[in-house]
Amino acid sequence: MEERKMICISCPIGCHLTVTEENGEYVVEGNQCKRGEVYGKKEMTDPTRVVPTTVKIRGARLRRLPVKTHIPLSKPLIFEAMKLINMVEVEAPVKVGDIVIENILDTGVNIVATRSMKRVE
């Protein structure tokens, strides 16, 4: 039997969870909502995180465009994904939600713009 204590990051409440494993089954305690249970189990099997960062942009007033993974990315892949994200340069205009990188590292996760930027000449 394995037991791990962790803090749920699904929302700002930050419930203190205790997850116990027995024969491949996970039991989550300490959560105040359903999302805590999902988080606790996921953290034991395949921890994932939303990765917010930026990419280079040309033709906009700012030099960086904020982006994120549209769904959480497997934690061990974060730095590898960053390498690819850092190589990208997009061209203004951009709309919020535009896909900047599709299916990064074959994970099914897209990198999407988190704001719109107009083109300035």
Binding site: T54, V55, K56, R64, N86
Partner: protein, 483 residues
């Protein structure tokens, strides 16, 4: 070949340069730092002393009293903030009264005008917040406050307006005396000059040692300060000193010309000439001592701390003379307090009596000399109508960069493009104050970096905070190539 090479562009060096420009002379200022006013000039109490405490017959006494009387005109000509607000020396004990009387007598003998000893009720009238334990005080109406770096920057600017040259990041590493000239080896190439003025502050003994065996040494003595938010600017109205006692000299509490309150300094001899750090002990000492003057000093309103090094001469007095060992080499050394107060008088004396005296007929009056700098436009403080007018002519004055101090883009651009203009973040701050307020550049820092980069045609990554290796940004994100 230059007529005069001045080593050091603090308030002494720049002042001398400016006064030399009243003559048709070729003058250069050599400064090892990235800006003028970067040594002791930028970190001191910013006080123009009345001049009652130096011993009769000393250089300190003479130049302080003369210098004080010159401030009004110099600051008008150079458009520098100066306020003659007067000073008090507080005695907290009847035992200290004889000290006040000695100061009064000394001051009278030196010709300091308006001195008087006042009693507790008058103290309270002038300074309602001062501790009730103060029993008497020496009132000196001619004391004042000034922007010390402002004065040096404007001296340098006015000297350059009148033809002087300034070379920054130029460290003198050797000096050779030839028959009729000096050859100075510097980090930016050789400089030849008939006369050398050694105004290198803390390093005056090191520089002098390059041509002679120096008769004096300069020892760094550190003073630490608190600067309080201008929200508490009415805490004191005058420069408030504490009576020197056997417990030490005490600390001062004073307004600054920018509306802050300055508290300090302590005095501590340090090992090296660049220990401009503050220390927990030093700050605690200032905090403790200042409570004597004002019991409830609002130290929670501190916006910054800093320290400065006094150039303490082994001789005890200012050294202002041509070297007896090396003719044509003029030492202006050991200019500790009241150095700022004495600066205008020292400048005139060194330029007119010493330098022109040596150069003789070679130094002709310069009929084109203009003693005035171009007016510095300050948006804050103008009337609504004047603000409207200014913006109509120059729209960059409608973009506020520093919201704490209400500084516009127009003021910053002007500060960059003047002679002896700003090249660094702190250079801009010292000239027109963005970042000097309560947010300490949190909001305007990135904007000032952007303006400096644009105006100086450099990358934002090349913009320095202060010295030439004090870069703010170390590269680009996304693994971009930095420095």
């Amino acid at each position: 070949m230059y007529d005069v090479a001045i080593i050091g562009a603090g308030v002494i060096g720049t002042g001398i340069a400016r006064e030399l420009m009243r003559y048709q002379l070729k003058v250069i200022m050599l400064e090892k730092e990235n800006d003028v006013a970067d040594g002791t000039t930028k970190a001191n109490s910013a006080i123009v002393h009345a001049g009652y405490d130096a011993p009769f017959g000393s250089n300190k006494a003479r130049f302080n009293v003369e210098g004080n009387a010159m401030f009004d005109q110099v600051c008008k000509d150079l458009d520098v903030h100066f306020k003659q607000i007067g000073s008090l020396v507080l005695a907290f004990d009847e035992e200290d009264r004889p000290t006040l009387e000695e100061l009064l007598e000394n001051g009278k003998r030196l010709g300091v005008p308006g001195l008087e000893i006042i009693e507790a009720d008058r103290i309270r009238e002038i300074e309602p917040n001062v501790s009730h334990t103060a029993v008497a005080a020496l009132w000196a109406p001619t004391a004042g406050i000034v922007g010390p770096w402002e004065l040096a920057i404007s001296y340098a600017e006015n000297a350059m307006d009148n033809g002087a040259e300034l070379r920054l990041n130029t460290e003198v590493t050797a000096i050779e005396k030839k028959e009729n000239k000096f050859v100075l080896t510097t980090s930016t190439g050789d400089v030849e000059a008939k006369l050398v003025v050694n105004a290198s502050g803390l390093h005056a003994d090191d520089i002098y040692n390059m041509v002679a065996e120096s008769e004096f040494t300069i020892n760094p003595r550190r003073g630490e300060y608190f600067l309080l938010d201008n929200e508490v600017s009415d805490l004191v109205n005058t420069v408030v000193f504490q009576c020197p006692t056997k417990m030490g000299k005490g600390v001062l509490v004073s307004p600054t010309v920018d509306g802050n309150i300055i508290v300090g300094p302590n005095a501590e001899d340090v090992e090296t000439k660049d220990e401009i750090n503050t220390t927990a002990e030093g700050l605690a000492f200032v905090r403790e001592k200042a409570k004597l003057t004002i019991e409830e000093l609002p130290f929670h309103m501190t916006i910054t701390n800093f320290s400065g090094l006094r150039a303490e001469p082994s001789t005890g007095d200012f050294i202002v003379e041509e070297s007896k060992q090396v003719l044509g080499f003029v030492n202006v050394a050991g200019i500790k307090s009241p150095g700022l107060s004495s600066a205008p008088a020292i400048a005139v004396y060194v330029a007119e009596t010493i330098c022109v005296g040596i150069l003789g007929a070679d130094a002709k009056k310069n009929p084109a000399f203009n003693p005035k700098t171009r007016k510095k436009l300050r948006f804050e403080g103008l009337s609504d109508e004047k603000k409207e007018d200014l913006i109509r002519v120059e729209p960059s004055f409608a973009r506020i960069i520093c919201r704490c101090e209400t500084i516009t883009e127009g003021e910053i651009v002007d500060a960059i493009h003047r002679n002896a203009g700003a090249r660094t973040i702190n250079g801009v701050k010292r000239r027109c104050r963005p970042g000097a307020g309560r947010c300490q550049g949190g909001f305007c820092g990135p904007r000032v970096v952007e303006i400096l980069a644009r105006e100086l045609k450099i990358s934002p990554m090349e913009v320095e905070l202060e010295g030439k290796d004090s870069h703010i940004l170390v590269g680009e994100t996304k693994g971009g190539a930095g420095e």
